[in-house]
Symmetry: C2
């Protein structure tokens, strides 16, 4: 069994619709490559009780928890103290991170607000931030990252080599223009029944030029079974009188 993961997106700005999240897709793709199964994503508000309660809940149920958002210097950045509370440890200055940040700011500008960014749950390991210095951190199975996509991505890549990986998922896709889901559903269900170790997904699409079609994705840990199922999918498309194309629709 591959390790499992849950992403917690912490941020009122996602829940109000102000901001389009793009971190989930980045992390999801990378976890798929690393053979870690993303089992759930939750978006929750910047509220102490909700963050603490959710972290306590999910960290017992998944192998890895990744959080994004709420680790900046302002009053609404409360993720770090909430994680400390969830783990029952003090939230205290991390000397190495303090020194790094102190050296980064011009004299007199490393104020109390910025010092909060060097304050971590006791026992946490910092995650280096090559973009803007202020670190993320890991404590237990919880990995705490920034919400700004460029910084989050840099932190994730610092973290990735340290994560327990699994077997990467094998995926093969075929698509066909002009084909509708309703026409192939029966044949596809039959292929799914014959390949229980493979997840076969059917995704209708509409290209910017208005042409429509369906993409059929076969995925699983057993590469041979995936290839076999994908071959049957290709044959099904041909049998219905359409032209299969490999990969994702352009």
């Amino acid at each position: 069994m591959n390790p499992t993961a849950c992403i917690l997106v912490i941020g009122n700005e996602i829940l109000s619709g102000r901001t389009q999240d793009v971190n989930v897709q980045y992390i999801a793709r990378r976890l798929t490559e690393l053979g870690i199964t993303l089992a759930e994503v939750r978006v929750i508000p910047d509220q102490r009780a909700v963050i603490v309660g959710t972290v306590c809940d999910v960290r017992a149920r998944f192998d890895h928890i990744f959080t994004t958002g709420g680790i900046g210097p302002t009053h609404d950045d409360i993720t770090a103290p909430c994680i400390a509370e969830a783990f029952g440890v003090p939230w205290s200055v991390h000397p190495d991170s303090f020194r790094l940040l102190e050296a980064h700011f011009p004299p007199g500008e490393f104020n109390a607000a910025r010092q909060r960014m060097a304050t971590l749950p006791e026992g946490a390991t910092p995650i280096a931030n090559p973009v803007s210095v202020a670190p993320g951190f890991s404590i237990g199975n919880v990995h705490v990252m920034a919400g700004v996509p460029r910084i989050m991505q840099a932190m994730f890549e610092e973290l990735a080599p340290t994560l327990r990986h699994g077997t990467p998922v094998t995926s093969r896709s075929w698509y066909a223009l002009g084909l509708y889901e309703g026409a192939l559903a029966e044949g596809l269900a039959d292929i799914q029944d014959r390949h229980p170790s493979v997840d076969i997904g059917s995704y209708p699409f509409r290209r910017p030029d208005g042409r429509r079609g369906v993409a059929l994705v076969s995925k699983g840990l057993d590469a041979a079974a995936v290839c076999h199922a994908a071959d049957r999918v290709r044959e099904l498309i041909e049998r219905l009188g359409f032209t299969p194309a490999e990969g994702e629709p352009p």
Copy 2:
């Protein structure tokens, strides 16, 4: 108190990173306009036990549940029977929806797979689909919509007039180029302390031309308090020697 909402995004394609979700932001913005507080979003896989368990959990905790995805004709579209199971009712043909779909397809093409799209939990009310006919549905406080954004949006707009609304949130934003969060954090925390009914959020940004800054959003149900807090934010930006601009950064 405004009514609360939770969105369940049902789809392996989001969890694998294949697809960038855009439905959450659409629904979130509309709920904000309608005075409904989006309290949580969960992304879960197309797995029967997870869908049923999650629906049972969240429908008791929020006033409205909106689901997206999994109501097409293929074998991986299992949302409707799972909702029926969560409500303990049969999943059975909805005669009006059956007739609508039957009339929509050419003779001989309304096959068993397409008939699934006219099969709803008993007691559900269809949500009209002006794009591609196959309906969504509401049962109790759970509103089940398509995953394809164009169809989801049309269904949401069919549904919106029937939802119990609340007081729309008042929001005022100021931003400043060249200003960093760490420089204003202390003054901002002071404004937040003096306006407990207002949520003040601080969001660093980086424009496509590389220029950076911070956006400061004051939000709440008490319009006068929001305006007052936003005025203090504007004054803070000026006091720090920067030029406040109203609205969201371009």
